[in-house]
């Protein structure tokens, strides 16, 4: 009873709350990091060093007037942000923050569940999030959002192919689709997969930038060109949901990258006894540190690079990344056959 209901429920509550808080604080993190890159300070007023800024943002968005355009499709208009946000959150069901630990005398796993097709689950659920963007543009009944959501849908679908191909090569190396098994495979093979699948990692990261509509692939929401993109007509809490969904997606991509390529919860060199003094740092902290590094890189890239134009973006996805991913897959297969 306790093991089947209470503990998973508690885990879900912790993970959900932690994710939502992390998402709102990621907004602050982004503003701060970009500000420091641009030789300015970022939010400093609300709370010491601007720490309470996300609270102010949340309150502001919640009390804003909720405007629905007159001829918008009301049900779809309301459903679109929900369809974008929910998949970003439910992906966390299979992401492993740590191995089994003993807490209060019980063996508790630091992940909500370990489906044996975990990676497939992640990819499928993430694809549903694309649907929300498209609906948002369509339901707004306005030219700019329509243009933007058409671009967004084409962009996301193209880059998903490349990303999924890289995931296949990871699966081939790890031998399983389950997220926990992939981390264990990295532990047993004594190497993080980023070092034996560097091409896959780079393609995954670039594809992740494109999947989350981040610079340099942020054309769907480029303010300078389309006045707000697919969320032009949204205000108040619905806009907040889009906004938060984007950051939730970024954290998801970072977490997945950490798990698949950088050893998840493992400390550096987990099998080297000489470094076992590092074991006092709990496993989930390693996971969080590594995810944080990826978050930082996402933000860093946004502050630095200009934006790709739409046709150049598509060309990159189809003519460069997908062939590279396929080539990587083929090479991985050949090497695996030769080594066995």
């Amino acid at each position: 009873m306790i093991d089947n209901f209470v503990i998973p429920l508690v885990k879900i509550l912790i993970v959900l709350n932690a994710t939502l808080v992390a998402v709102t604080y990621m907004v602050l993190l982004e503003r701060k990091v970009i500000a420091w890159a641009q030789s300015r300070l970022g939010p400093m007023r609300v709370g010491p060093y601007g720490i309470l800024q996300p609270v102010a943002d949340a309150v502001k968005l919640m009390i804003k007037e909720d405007i629905t355009p007159a001829r918008a499709d009301k049900w779809v208009f309301t459903a679109a942000p929900i369809i974008t946000m929910v998949p970003a959150l439910i992906v966390y069901a299979v992401i492993p923050f740590g191995p089994e630990v003993s807490l209060f005398g019980r063996q508790v796993t630091l992940y909500i569940t370990d489906v044996n097709v975990g990676l497939l689950y992640i990819v499928s659920v993430a694809s549903i999030g694309v649907y929300g963007l498209i609906l948002a543009g369509y339901a707004s009944n306005s030219k700019y959002p329509l243009l933007a959501s058409l671009r967004a849908s084409a962009q996301l679908i193209s880059y998903e192919v490349a990303v999924t191909l890289t995931l296949v090569s990871v699966i081939m190396v790890a031998g399983s689709l389950s997220m926990v098994s992939i981390v264990r495979a990295q532990e047993s093979q004594h190497v993080w997969f980023a070092f034996i699948q560097p091409v896959a990692f780079v393609i995954f990261f670039i594809g992740g930038l494109a999947e989350t509509n981040r610079a340099p692939f942020d054309l769907p929401e480029a303010e300078q060109e389309l006045t707000g993109g697919f969320h032009t007509e949204y205000s108040g809490m619905r806009f907040a949901l889009f906004f938060l969904a984007e950051y939730a997606n970024i954290i998801v991509v970072s977490s997945v990258a950490t798990t698949l390529f950088f050893g998840g919860w493992l400390r550096p060199f987990p099998n080297v006894a000489a470094l076992s003094f590092l074991d006092f740092i709990p496993s989930w902290t390693w996971f969080l540190i590594k995810s944080f590094v990826f978050l930082y890189i996402f933000i860093w890239v946004r502050a630095t690079l200009p934006r790709y134009r739409y046709d150049q973006l598509m060309r990159l996805g189809w003519k460069v990344l997908i062939p590279l991913a396929i080539a990587n897959l083929v090479v991985t297969g050949i090497v695996k056959v030769l080594l066995l």
């Binding site: 970009i34 054309l219 200009p306 934006r307």
Partner: protein, 366 residues
């Protein structure tokens, strides 16, 4: 009238990246621009008609507000035109200081240009860096004449005030800082793969066509035409300065970008020469108490950061106001070329091209 497959999009007067109140009505076929109708006049304040009711010195204030990004250049152009009409001699020291101020304005204007152009294309960090340097220039101006944006820093016959002591040392320090920062901007943009893809081959125009369309300044020089008023019809102290005029090769946005980046460096060169060689002497020439140019008309052009800034002034010899005051704004004539430049490009390029032409709506609409 319109094909049903075409979409008409309005990049309205309120738009994050039209650099002011500019309206472009785009006809799109998918993502490609078929036609663009540029609508201006949202910032028309009637400066030309107002000037007919102001006396010759009061107009200097009005000229500030046209190209508000590089206000001292407008002042210099106007004062030089009136001085030409009156056949007034400007002392050498005043001409040197005018040159320094004009070149500082060129750097300030190009800083704003590089920041906004890069930001439109997505590299938002360059905007903050460029404005940090622009602040240094605005500090120099504030020390000289008390204002940061609209300077009123020239008088007919010279300048109202001499430069404060130590100002020339600060200018030289600024030159050293700026040269290093320029390398920073270049590092972020010039060889960046994404920047190259966004700007190479975008908005190509040949030299002859650019000349016929009336483009001037970096858009014309980027297409290979060696035309610079500072070299062809020198004014202020430019005939005593050694500098080069960068010319582009292919006439696309990347070349216009490179031309302006090199103009930064040449401006620093001119500023150094002028500051190190400022002659002693009076700062204002022998100007009559009441300025009344003899009856006649003239046209005089200078090289503002945007292009050829011309003033056509008619004096009737009797009243204290000009009879006709006409400004030939470089941004107005450059903006005319936008329609020709955007045909066949994608929507994302329209923004890059507006930035590449470097228009200031205050000048376009007056």
């Amino acid at each position: 009238m319109f094909d049903t497959n075409e979409l008409v999009i309005n990049m309205g007067p309120q738009h994050p990246s039209t650099h002011g109140v500019l309206r472009v009505v785009l006809r799109l076929d998918g993502e490609t621009v078929v036609d663009a109708d540029v609508v201006i006049g949202y910032l028309h304040r009637g400066i030309e008609k107002l000037s007919e009711n102001r006396n010759w010195t009061q107009i200097i204030l009005l000229t500030d507000r046209m190209d508000y990004v590089a206000a001292a250049t407008n002042n210099v152009g106007y004062c030089e035109t009136v001085e030409k009409l009156m056949s007034l001699e400007v002392p050498r020291r005043a001409r040197y200081v005018r040159t320094i101020l004009c070149e500082l304005q060129r750097i300030a204007s190009h800083c704003l240009w590089v920041g906004t152009h890069a930001m439109d294309i997505g590299a938002m960090t360059v905007f903050l860096y460029a404005f940090r340097e622009r602040e240094l220039i605005l500090d120099l101006f504030e020390e000289f004449c008390g204002a940061r944006l609209t300077y009123n820093s020239m008088r007919i016959g010279g300048l109202p005030l001499d430069i404060p002591p130590g100002w020339d040392k600060k200018v030289l320090e600024f030159c050293t800082i700026m040269a290093a920062k320029l390398d920073e901007y270049e590092e972020l943009l010039t060889h960046n793969r994404i920047w190259l893809e966004r700007t190479k081959g975008v908005g190509v125009i040949s030299g002859a066509e650019a000349l016929a369309l009336g483009l001037s300044g970096p858009p014309l020089r980027g297409s290979g035409v060696a035309r610079d008023v500072r070299k062809d019809e020198p004014y202020a102290a430019y005939d005593e300065m050694a500098f080069d005029v960068p010319i582009g090769a292919s006439g696309d946005t990347y070349d216009r970008y490179l031309v302006r980046m090199e103009e930064f460096r040449q401006s620093l060169r001119i500023i150094r020469q002028a500051t190190e060689g400022i002659p002693e002497g009076p700062i204002v020439g022998k100007v009559p108490r009441l300025i009344k140019p003899p009856a006649g008309e003239t046209y005089h052009a200078i090289e503002s950061p945007k292009g050829e800034l011309g003033y056509f002034i008619v004096s009737d010899g009797k009243s204290t106001n000009p009879y006709r005051f006409r400004v030939r704004p470089p941004s107005f004539c450059n903006l005319q070329g936008l329609r020709r430049l955007v045909k066949g490009h994608l929507v994302a390029d329209v923004v890059a091209l507006i930035g590449s032409l470097d228009v200031v709506l205050g000048e376009v609409d007056r």
